[in-house]
């Protein structure tokens, strides 16, 4: 126990001695985790609401006007057989006619009759990312007159998710490398400034483990401290966003059907993931620095 307390004291003393570098490294880890966390929480909520978003994205398939029941069923079977849809609703031309009468001058429509309106299928996909392939397939089915979907919304949603995934991934890697580099640099400079100490330790018979341990712990403290800061800030911000969104935000953003992941779950995930990431960054950053600089 005595040696552990001694090492802990040494770690704190040494971090304090290289204060500027220590603080710089902590801030880098903090910023990295903060940015990754913001995107991560965003992705978490998008994933949580993916069903809602899928439901927003409906495809309307119009059958050639004047088609009979046989042709309507042919199209339906082709759609079902494809396997991409999770929801299908049929609207006959008569039903469409009734709806149209509610919207337009019913007298004019009565003169036209229901036959000019096509029957249609409304579908929702299991996976919206395949929408373009699905539409291309549907357009090739005989007796399909037109395929209608809010391509802008689809493309936007799919694109948004892809971009968020990509940016999060790239940012996480870049910032992770930057943090590793800075932590590694901190430890390397600490080793250089304590070169005499390392030499003495080698000469008096300290094992490599005993020599490395303080430096690894210093890197871990840096990673851990950055992680705590980022976790607390994101938790606080998310709590504020959650309160705002639940009370008025959803309405203001026209996203009334959306729900945010609970604060409790999100905060737990943040703390678990960040602590793990922070500590790993600290350990690997330190190992990177001491690997070349230490050999008994």
């Amino acid at each position: 126990m005595g040696y552990k307390m001694y090492i802990f004291g040494e770690v704190i003393t040494n971090l304090n001695r290289n204060r500027v570098l220590t603080i710089t490294s902590i801030i880098t880890v903090f910023i990295m985790l903060l940015l990754v966390g913001v995107f991560g929480v965003f992705l978490l909520n998008i994933s949580y609401n993916s069903e809602y978003m899928d439901n927003m994205l409906e495809i309307r398939i119009f059958i050639t006007p004047g088609s009979d029941e046989y042709r309507e069923n042919f199209v339906k079977e082709a759609l079902v057989e494809d396997g991409s849809i999770k929801y299908l609703e049929f609207e006959s031309n008569e039903q469409a006619f009734e709806k149209a009468k509610e919207m337009f001058d019913s007298q004019v429509l009565e003169d036209l009759g229901p036959n000019f309106l096509p029957a249609s299928y409304t579908v929702r996909l299991k996976d919206s990312i395949n929408v373009k392939d699905f539409v291309a397939f549907v357009e090739s089915i005989p007796d399909v007159y037109q395929v209608d979907y809010h391509s802008g919304s689809f493309d936007f949603a799919v694109s948004l998710t892809s971009w968020i995934n990509l940016i999060s991934g790239v940012l996480a890697i870049l910032l992770g490398i930057l943090s590793l580099f800075l932590i590694s640099n901190t430890v390397r400079l600490a080793m250089a400034s304590r070169n005499e100490e390392v030499i003495i330790m080698k000469y008096i018979g300290a094992t490599e483990g005993r020599i490395k341990l303080p430096f690894i712990l210093e890197g871990t403290v840096i990673g851990f401290t950055g992680a705590i800061g980022a976790s607390l800030l994101i938790s606080y911000l998310y709590n504020r966003v959650f309160e705002w969104f639940s009370t008025q935000g959803a309405e203001e953003l026209f996203l009334a059907g959306l729900k945010l992941v609970s604060v409790k779950y999100t905060v737990l995930m943040i703390f678990l993931v960040f602590f793990g990431l922070g500590i790993l960054l600290g350990i690997f950053g330190s190992l990177l620095a001491i690997r070349k600089n230490l050999r008994v």
């Binding site: 005595g2 040696y3 001694y6 001695r17 005499e196 100490e197 030499i199 003495i200 330790m201 080698k202 000469y203 008096i204 018979g205 300290a206 094992t207 490599e208 005993r210 020599i211 008994v296």
Partner: protein, 226 residues
């Protein structure tokens, strides 16, 4: 204790630092290694400390062939050897007490034993009253005493002193050598690499002379120039 059997050392640069050196130092012996710069004194020390490997021949330290000491055994091997340097190599931000305790901590001595042993070691080197002083508050001689106390903290079988009086005045040099000699009298084998003619002549111990990597003279109770 130490046996050099036809040892040769050629560095990567091509420098032949030692050439067919045959040397035996017995347990409990006191020996000076003297010679001009580049004669191979430092190489002898590095080989004994397993900082370098012989290019040829065999070197035994305490009965162990240094070639058989693998990387993970080096710390244990070095624990049995105390080293004193010309520039003391004390930790500037630690007190005399802490410098000695440091040597014990990194070799897994427990806290209670450290608290018992450090004052004893300070007493051996006559610095009990300077326990709480940092190196910049100590004279050169006092710093070297602390370094010696640190070197013997783990009760080594062998004490190597590499120019221990190089930065000290004659009076202090003599005090330091008396201390090292006292340690030898307690049973520790001592090897002192030095340029200090006065010290060698005063103590009249075994003198091993190196010149361009060759042992040119090896006499018991020798003098520097003779």
């Amino acid at each position: 204790m130490i046996n050099f059997n036809n040892v040769t050392k050629v560095y990567k640069s091509g420098t032949e630092a030692l050439k067919n050196v045959d040397l035996a130092i017995k347990k409990g012996e006191f020996a000076f290694v003297i010679g001009p710069s580049g004669s191979g004194k430092s190489t002898i020390i590095k080989l004994i400390m397993k900082e370098e490997e012989p290019t040829g021949g065999e070197l035994y330290v305490n009965g162990v062939d240094t070639r058989d000491v693998d990387r993970y055994e080096v710390p244990g091997f070095r624990k049995k050897i105390g080293v004193v340097f010309q520039d003391y190599k004390l930790l500037q931000n630690k007190t005399a007490y802490q410098n000695i305790a440091f040597a014990l901590r990194v070799t897994k001595t427990n806290g209670r034993q450290i608290r018992k042993m450090v004052p004893q070691l300070l007493a051996v080197v006559g610095l009990l009253d300077k326990a709480n002083d940092c190196p910049d508050e100590l004279s050169g001689g006092e710093q070297q005493r602390v370094a010696i106390a640190r070197a013997i903290a783990n009760n080594p079988d062998l004490l190597i002193a590499d120019e221990p009086t190089g930065n000290l005045d004659p009076k202090t040099s003599l005090e330091i050598m008396n201390l090292i000699y006292k340690i030898n009298q307690m049973g520790t084998t001592v090897l002192v690499a030095t340029h200090d003619k006065t010290i060698v002549d005063t103590f009249k111990q075994r003198v091993i002379v190196l010149d361009e990597g060759i042992v040119t003279r090896d006499v018991p109770e020798g003098r520097y120039g003779v």
